[in-house]
Each structure stands twice: as structure tokens, then as C-alpha cells.
């Protein structure tokens, strides 16, 4: 696994799987709870609106990257636009977002594991094992993570669809009415507020140069956003058909509640423990991606020859942040209030602003030659 990062080249299918896993894993986190609070019976519409918004922005950013910044990532673009110092600050901001995301996810999943299957096990042990595995996977690099994502994607798909279908005998479609829930304005604002779960746009600006064939990026974005939207939507619809909206807004682990209800005869019941394979594999991959992104961005910003030594440190930092909150309620509150609600500014706004400023700046300066030439001139290297 030594020094793979410099030559990481990932195939389209694996990148698609990676993006689906990163987004769809939110089905196990507090996303269903918050969209339920926001839109009640119409909560299932919010992932659709957010997904559509993401898709439009994805196409736009992909066009910008392809036209103006091929072979560059967001940090390299920032360096070109703002110089090294501001680029480093921006990279630190992105990395901080990823570290906080990792911390929140590890704490939420650790609490979920303790709550559901290991009630007597110390949280530090469960979290340490989790973080160790995540660190190891992130250490493997983007190729390793994306290949793992591709292998585990069928488990996620089968598991999520399975848990929805297996609760069919509890479905009450009438509970999806009234159709517009809390009303169209609340649905739209909720969709925007909680759209940060679709981190495809930010990921695109980081992994664009690692795509085996960048021309496939538009397809990768379309498939990943569509599939993850459908998965989130399916889970929320099922959740609301099984539990009333008023009740669902108070529960932070929708999938577990659904899994507990499964009863397909005396031999297929109480299968929530089986779904731990689903949560753990998906969460591990998601956290590995966020951890890798933070290390990669910091490495790029500060000119580290390799990001790998940063992985254990950042893993430890994430774990420390994760254990900061006193209780599960506090974690859910912090995540919902800050990361989930304002994450869209980092996930969508910031990368687009950076890219647009770069384009505008280039137009004003009348830069000629190939994109990225200034940076390469400064470094004295030439890309093939």
C-alpha cells in the first residue's frame, strides 16, 4: 500500500459506488429524523428536491472543472486563484468540515451500536475499534476505499431495499397524507437546509483528477445522485408508512426501528442484529472517505510529500472530537444544528464560489495558455 496516492486512478463504477455509499449512509443517521421534523408526511420529497438541486450543481461544477481545471483539484484551483495562503486556509476549512463529519458519524454509529447490540460494552472500546478500522481503510488510499465501496454496495442496496420490503405488513399508506405535509415552503427550505448530505459536489472537486476517465464524471454523478436519492426516499417513505410523522421526528435511528419490526414468521424475526453488517460496512466506507479527504486536502495545502502519516493523527483527532459531547442527545443536536443545517455552505457554495472566482479572475487577467499553467510554471513542471 505504499505511495499509492500519487497514481490513484479509479474506475467509473467504483467512484459511483463510493458516492452512493457516502450519501445513502445518511439513511442510518439523523437525516430521516430532521427531514421528518421539517416536512412531516412530505419528508420523502426533501431528498428528491435536494437530489435534483445536487444534480444541477454537479453538472455545473463538472462543466467548470472539465473546461477550466482539468487535472486539478479544489486545493490546486484555490492556489491558482488566491495563492498559497488562502488556499491553505480554504483547505483547512474543508478538512475541518470532513473531520467534524467523521467525528459526528463515528459518535452516532458508536451510540447506535451500543444501543442496539452491545449495551454492556464501553463506548471507548467500540469507538476505538471503529476508528482503527476507518483509519486503516483510509490509509489504503482512494483506490482501496473505492474498491471496497464497490464490493459492499450490493450489501447496502439489498439491505436497504430488504428492510423496506420486509416491513410491508406494517405499511399504512394513508399515513403519508396530507400529501404536502407541513407545506411546500417548508419542504423547499428543508430540502435546502439538509441538502448537505449530498456531498457529491465537494467530492467531485477533490477526486476529479483521480477519475480513470474524467469524461465519465457526468454519468457517475447522475447515477450516484439518482440512486442515493431513491434509496433515501424509499427509506423515508417506508418509515412514514410504518410510523406516524409525529412519532418519526423524535426517533434518531430510523433503520433500526424498522428492522426491529421485521416479522416474517417465527424463523425470520428480530433481524436487527443482521443489519449491523449493513451499517458497519457502509459507515466505515463513508468515514474512510471523509477521513481520506481531510488528510488529502491538508497534504495538498501544505505540500506534504504524502498524506498518509496524517491519517492516524486525523483519526485520533476525529475520535477525540467525537467523544467530546456528553450525551447522544447533545450529539444529535450539534449535528442537526450545525453540520446538517449549514453544511450546504461548505458542500455547495464554497467550491462553486472558488471555481467561479477562478474563472472570473482568469477572464480579467486575460490569461492565455492552458488551464493550470500558472501553477505549473511556478513549480517548474509540465504535465503530459
Amino acid at each position: 500500500m505504499k505511495n499509492q496516492e500519487g497514481k490513484a486512478s479509479v474506475a467509473g463504477r467504483e467512484l459511483t459506488a463510493l458516492m452512493i455509499l457516502v450519501v445513502a449512509t445518511n439513511a442510518f443517521l439523523i437525516y430521516p429524523q430532521y427531514v421528518s421534523q421539517s416536512a412531516y408526511e412530505a419528508a420523502w420529497m426533501e431528498p428528491i428536491v435536494s437530489g435534483a438541486l445536487t444534480l444541477v450543481l454537479f453538472y455545473f461544477v463538472e462543466w467548470l472543472m472539465r473546461k477550466y481545471y482539468p487535472q486539478l483539484d479544489i486545493v490546486e484551483v484555490s492556489k491558482e486563484v488566491f495563492g498559497r495562503v488562502i488556499a491553505a486556509l480554504l483547505a483547512m476549512l474543508f478538512a475541518a468540515y470532513f473531520i467534524c463529519t467523521t467525528a459526528m458519524v463515528v459518535r452516532e454509529f458508536t451510540e447506535n451500536v451500543i444501543m442496539t447490540v452491545l449495551p454492556a460494552t464501553p463506548i471507548l472500546l467500540v469507538g476505538a475499534v471503529f476508528m482503527g478500522a476507518v483509519g486503516y481503510i483510509a490509509y489504503a488510499g482512494l483506490e482501496g476505499i473505492s474498491r471496497t465501496a464497490y464490493i459492499f454496495l450490493p450489501i447496502l442496496l439489498i439491505g436497504l431495499v430488504g428492510v423496506c420490503v420486509a416491513t410491508m405488513n406494517w405499511w399504512h399508506p394513508a399515513m403519508l397524507l396530507p400529501f404536502w405535509g407541513t407545506g411546500i415552503p417548508r419542504v423547499l427550505t428543508g430540502s435546502l437546509e439538509y441538502s448537505s448530505v449530498f456531498s457529491n459536489v465537494l467530492l467531485l472537486t477533490i477526486i476529479y483528477k483521480h477519475a480513470h476517465n474524467p469524461r465519465q464524471m457526468r454519468r457517475i454523478g447522475s447515477v450516484s445522485v439518482t440512486v442515493s436519492t431513491l434509496l433515501l426516499c424509499l427509506l423515508i417513505i417506508t418509515y412514514h408508512m410504518v410510523f406516524p410523522a409525529v412519532e418519526s421526528e423524535q426517533v434518531s435511528f430510523a433503520l433500526y426501528r424498522l428492522a426491529r419490526l421485521i416479522y416474517l414468521g417465527p424463523f425470520f424475526q428480530r433481524l436487527e442484529s443482521v443489519f449491523i453488517f449493513l451499517w458497519v460496512t457502509a459507515a466505515t466506507v463513508k468515514m474512510a472517505v471523509t477521513l481520506w479527504c481531510s488528510a488529502y486536502l491538508l497534504g495538498k495545502a501544505f505540500g506534504w510529500p504524502t498524506y498518509r502519516p496524517g491519517i492516524p493523527i486525523l483519526a485520533l483527532l476525529s475520535w477525540s472530537i467525537a467523544m467530546w459531547a456528553d450525551s447522544w442527545v447533545q450529539v444529535v443536536d450539534l449535528d442537526g444544528r450545525y453540520l446538517l443545517r449549514w453544511g450546504w455552505t461548505v458542500v455547495f457554495v464554497l467550491p462553486i464560489v472558488v471555481l467561479l472566482l477562478g474563472v472570473v479572475g482568469r477572464a480579467f487577467k486575460g490569461s492565455t495558455g492552458e488551464p493550470g499553467e500558472r501553477r505549473r510554471r511556478r513549480r517548474g513542471i509540465t504535465h503530459a
Partner: protein, 601 residues
């Protein structure tokens, strides 16, 4: 008489420490450099075997790793050089000098294996022309030597020329009827030829030696495979003969493009290593890489493919093998046709195939001979076996310890009832049973064949009956462990089976400590580790991760007539292995041209 009894009495009641000194103790050989029985008397030959590498290092001063490696390399190179002193020289002209050199090289007269037969060429010659026939007793065929070399040279040879060199060429062309002869100029060539079973003929006055192929040592004949048996398919296996093995491969793969490159590995005792590939089809980069890794081996001795593979694997510390070891010529021939490289190592009944992907370790040569439904079915069975062999005990422990609620109530009560008499925790119970199974498995291999059936009876009695009745294990656990063992036996590759045996214990501990959570985490880590592993530049999880276009020959077995392309992860020079439409006369299948994905490879 009195003193004798006094001495006996003294020996009875006192301790004489000099008795201990009479025992032999192996220490450094500081003064004696000869292997004669009376070691301190030097014989006529002075051979310095007291090389520095054999001396115990007495320096205690710590050195850096770089220095340590440099010093070790220097010592090793010096030892190799000393062992081959004089072997790069040309042959002398005098027969006496030749004989003296041979006696020195082969450590005669202590060494009784090497025979130096002196003779005179021609019955009617005016003056006897002295010659030597040198061979290793036991390696060379004596009938060939007697009839085709000595008899012809001693009785039927008459020279018409006085020039020794020309006479030697005359012998090679006209006298000796062996199918392979070669003229040798250097001592190293002579020594290698003799050790390979050839007979070397040396004549007085001629500074060349004639090597005559007389290989004829005893070996097992071609028999049925021991570890890769099939119902439908060939029943021959490799044997302990290098040339028989290469011949078996070539007899199946009759192509003029099949190339066999032979290398000699080992500084102290050389072993033939053959690289076989199909010229114009196998990726040359792969062939070069295999060649490079084999040529880089710088050791005294390599005997078997199991040892050689540890020198050429990408990551020998990995639990999964990175080359495929097989004893079936048909499997090697099929792999060569796909674009793989075969490595034949010495006189050993296993041949290596490189590179390897994880899925091919689950395949057998029988899969291709069956209809694709049956091939897919048994392949699926093996995949399930792999997961059962690896995970079932861990899942049992996890369920009984941490997740009993997922069991149906009746089953949970049954398990609880069966465990009522058992005094141990589940993990101890499982470890005991697994240990017993591993013991039986190992003993079954080592036990003499005449009492082999007994092991089955003993094993069945211990595990099936006595252990349960004694209340050491629960009956359900017997079923779990027996199913796991059976699943382990269903894995066709022995090395993968060994890896699964070891992994099972790791998963077991993970399941015991953290239930499904621990197993899931370990599974994630294992998959990541596997996904990053390469075998000769090919990711071991190809063509699934990374995704590559592939015929239906990975998890399932597709119809042969639709698998048109070779594995793309091998990057062969000829990607199509057959016509796109292979059954044009057939209405239902005639239009079938393989998967669309195949055509994009």
C-alpha cells in the same frame, strides 16, 4: 586387584566430571579444514571450507542495518566465490590434470557418488588413447553408458586423424548414438552436465569435453492427482521429474508458440526452473517480470515451488497465496491459453501459475467440463463453503453470546438446553472443538496409511459422541464445527484453505469479543487489504474490484460458446479467444456473441 575394586568403589560414590567431556560437542572448526575421518591429518587436496560465513560472529558492537546487509552480502558473495573456485577455467589438455581437477571439484575419494571411469579408446590403436567417462551413480542410465558410450568407444572406434580435437568431433558425429550431445569448454559446464545426469567424456590431448545425455534416475510415474481430483476431466498429474512435467504440459498444449525458458537457480546446488508462456499472446511485460523475479533469486538452494513462490510473490506476508499451485497439466495448459505464465520448479509435482486472482482459487478444471448450470452450481457451492469455513463458528459465538434474540424462540431454547450441561463459555467450547478438528486433520495427513481409517473412527468417536456425552461440548456445536470442517474441505485450493483455517480463528475472536460488530469490522478490513493486494501487477480481486470487462467466468461459470475474450486484467496480446459467433448453425444460440461488456475490453 585391590586397586581395581577401590577404583570401582570410587566411581560408585564420587562424580567424575571428565565423563561429560567425553561427549561430542559441536563447536567452530578452528584448526581442521578437512572432512577426513582423521581430520587433523591433511590429505592431498587442500580445500578451504572454513569460510568466514561459517564462523560465529563474535563482534558485539551494534551496526546499522545498511552495514549489516552490506557485510552479509560480502560474506555470502565470498562464500559463493570460494565454492566455485576454478570452475570458470577452460579445460586443460592433459588427462591427468583433468582427473585431478575432477577429483578436487567432486571431493574424491570421499565422495562415492561420482564415478570416473578410465578407459582407452579403440582396440587396435597402436598406442592407447586415454579417456575418462564421468557420471553420477544413480543419476545416469548405466545401460546407455555401457552400450552407447563405453562399448562404442572402446571396441568400435578407429581414428583416421591424429588431431585430438578433430577426433572428438568425429566421435560426436559418427560414434556416439545418443540423441543429445554437446561440446563443453568450461569446467562449470562440465560440472553442471554431470550433476544433471549426463555423462561427460574427456580425452587426453583434447581441451574439450563431450556431454552425452544419459539421464536415468528413478522417479514416480505419472499418476492421478492427489489434491485436485475431478469426476469429469483428465486424471493425470505432474510427477517428480522436471522434463516429464514440461512434456505433460506440451503434450496438452501443442503449439509452436509455447516457449519454455529454463533457468538455473541456486548457488550451492542448482535447480532447474522453467518459465512457460505463449509467445505472441501472453503479455511480454508479465513474462519479463516473472523472469526478472526469478533471476533475482540469489540463494544457496531452492527445492520446491512452495519455497520459490515466497521469493517471487508480491507480498509473501499476506495470508492469501499470490500464485496458483496446481498438480494438473490440463489446468496449466488452460491457463497458458488464457495468457498466464507457468513456472515449473525442479523435480516437483506442482507447477505455479502467475498471476492469480482470488476467484481462480475457487475454480477447478472440472467447471469447464460441465454444463454451465452445473458449473455455476458447484462454483456457487464453493463460494458458500468459503464463507461458512471462514465465518460460521464466529457467527455462532456472536449469536449465542450477543444476539440470541434473532433466533426463533424454539431454537434458542434448544441451544440453551443443549448448553445446560456444558461448564465452559461458548468461545472455550468452540476453541476446544476447533482444536480437536485441526488435530484430526493434521494427524490424518501424517498418520501411516495402514492405520489411516482408524483416525476417522477415533475422530468421530471423540467429537461426535464422547465429547457430547462428557458434557464438554453441546450437540449443536458439533454440527457447527463439522459443517465448518466440511466447508473447508470443499475449498479446492490448499493454500487458500490454509488461509481460511487461520482466518477462522481471528474471526472467532472478533465474534467472541464484539459479536457481529467485530466480525463486520474485521470483514471490512480484510476486504480493503485484499482489494489493495496485487499478484504480478494484477489486483487480486480483479476483475470485480477494480472492475474490468470480463467473461462470465468469475463468480459463476458462463456458457463456453459465449466467452469470447480472454481475461482483460492480463492484458494479453490476443484478446479474442474465439469467433464472436461460435455456433452459427444453431438457431437459439447462433446469434449469441458474448456479453456486450466483453467487446469493450
Amino acid at each position: 586387584m585391590l586397586s581395581k575394586y577401590a577404583s570401582m568403589l570410587k566411581r560408585l560414590i564420587t562424580v567424575n566430571e571428565s565423563v561429560l567431556d567425553e561427549q561430542f560437542t559441536l563447536l567452530d572448526d578452528e584448526s581442521d579444514t578437512s572432512y577426513d575421518e582423521d581430520g587433523n591429518k591433511r590429505g592431498p587436496e587442500v580445500i578451504d571450507f572454513d569460510t568466514d560465513e561459517n564462523k560465529t560472529q563474535t563482534a558485539k558492537r551494534p551496526v546499522s542495518m545498511r552495514q549489516f546487509i552490506r557485510r552479509g552480502a560480502a560474506l555470502y558473495n565470498e562464500a559463493v566465490r570460494k565454492a566455485h573456485v576454478g570452475q570458470d577455467d577452460d579445460l586443460p589438455v592433459s588427462i591427468d590434470q583433468m582427473k585431478a581437477r575432477l577429483e578436487r571439484f567432486f571431493h574424491l575419494p570421499q565422495n562415492k557418488d561420482v564415478v570416473i571411469r578410465e578407459f582407452s579408446v579403440g582396440v587396435h590403436a597402436k598406442q592407447p588413447w586415454r579417456g575418462l567417462a564421468v557420471f553420477v551413480d544413480g543419476l545416469a542410465d548405466k545401460t546407455v553408458i555401457n552400450h552407447d558410450i563405453l562399448e562404442r568407444l572402446m571396441l568400435f572406434t578407429q581414428f583416421i586423424d591424429d588431431e585430438p580435437r578433430r577426433n572428438m568431433e568425429y566421435i560426436q558425429e559418427k560414434i556416439l548414438t545418443s540423441n543429445q550431445t554437446a561440446m563443453l569448454e568450461k569446467w562449470s559446464e562440465v560440472i553442471q552436465a554431470i550433476l544433471a545426469g549426463s555423462t561427460v567424456v574427456l580425452l587426453d590431448g583434447c581441451n574439450g569435453a563431450l556431454s552425452v545425455e544419459t539421464k536415468g534416475w528413478e522417479h514416480r510415474s505419472v499418476s492421478i492427482p492427489q489434491t485436485e481430483s475431478v469426476v469429469r476431466g483428465a486424471h493425470d498429474a505432474f510427477t517428480e521429474n522436471f522434463r516429464t512435467n514440461t512434456g505433460l504440459i506440451r503434450s496438452r498444449f501443442r503449439s509452436e508458440h509455447l516457449v519454455t525458458e529454463i533457468y538455473s537457480v541456486g548457488n550451492l546446488a542448482s535447480t532447474d526452473v522453467a518459465i512457460m508462456y505463449v509467445h505472441g499472446m501472453t503479455n511480454p511485460k508479465l513474462v519479463r517480470e516473472v523472469r526478472r523475479r526469478i533471476e533475482a533469486i540469489d540463494v544457496d538452494y531452492i527445492d520446491s515451488p512452495g519455497v520459490l513462490e515466497q521469493f517471487i510473490e508480491d507480498e509473501p506476508r499476506m495470508i492469501i497465496p499470490q500464485v496458483l499451485s496446481t498438480e494438473r497439466p490440463d489446468r496449466v495448459a488452460a491457463s497458458l491459453a488464457e495468457g498466464y505464465v507457468a513456472i515449473v520448479v525442479g523435480n516437483n509435482p506442482f507447477v505455479l501459475i502467475a498471476p492469480v486472482v482470488l476467484y481462480s482459487l475457487i475454480h477447478t478444471s472440472e467447471d469447464a467440463n460441465l454444463r454451465f448450470y452445473a458449473g455455476t452450481f458447484i462454483r456457487g457451492l464453493r463460494w458458500i463453503s468459503l464463507f461458512i469455513a471462514c465465518l460460521l463458528p464466529a457467527l455462532y459465538v456472536a449469536v449465542t453470546n450477543y444476539h440470541p434474540e434473532m433466533l426463533p424462540t424454539d431454537l434458542m431454547l434448544a441451544i440453551a438446553g443443549s448448553r445446560e450441561q456444558v461448564p465452559f463459555p461458548v468461545i472455550v467450547e468452540v476453541l476446544l472443538m476447533e482444536f480437536a478438528i485441526e488435530l484430526i486433520r493434521e494427524a490424518g495427513i501424517r498418520i501411516p496409511s495402514v492405520i489411516g481409517p482408524t483416525i476417522g473412527i477415533v475422530g468421530a468417536l471423540i467429537i461426535g459422541q464422547a465429547a457430547v456425552q462428557a458434557g464438554i461440548v453441546s450437540p449443536l456445536l458439533v454440527i457447527v464445527v463439522a459443517t465448518t470442517a466440511l466447508a473447508g474441505f470443499a475449498i479446492p485450493n490448499y493454500e487458500l484453505s490454509m488461509a481460511v483455517r487461520i482466518s477462522r480463528f481471528v474471526f472467532l475472536l472478533a465474534g467472541a469479543f464484539l459479536g457481529f460488530y467485530g466480525v463486520a469490522i474485521l470483514l471490512c478490513v480484510s476486504v480493503v487489504r485484499l482489494s489493495m493486494q496485487k499478484s504480478f501487477g494484477v489486483p487480486i480481486l480483479s476483475p470485480i474490484a477494480p472492475t474490468k470487462a470480463s467473461a462470465k467466468d468469475v463468480l459463476i461459470r458462463g456458457p463456453v460458446y459465449s466467452m469470447n475474450l480472454r481475461p482483460s486484467f492480463l492484458h494479453p496480446l490476443r484478446s479474442w479467444r474465439q469467433q464472436p459467433v461460435t455456433r452459427p448453425w444453431s438457431a437459439p444460440t447462433g446469434k449469441r456473441a458474448g456479453r456486450k461488456g466483453n467487446d469493450q475490453a
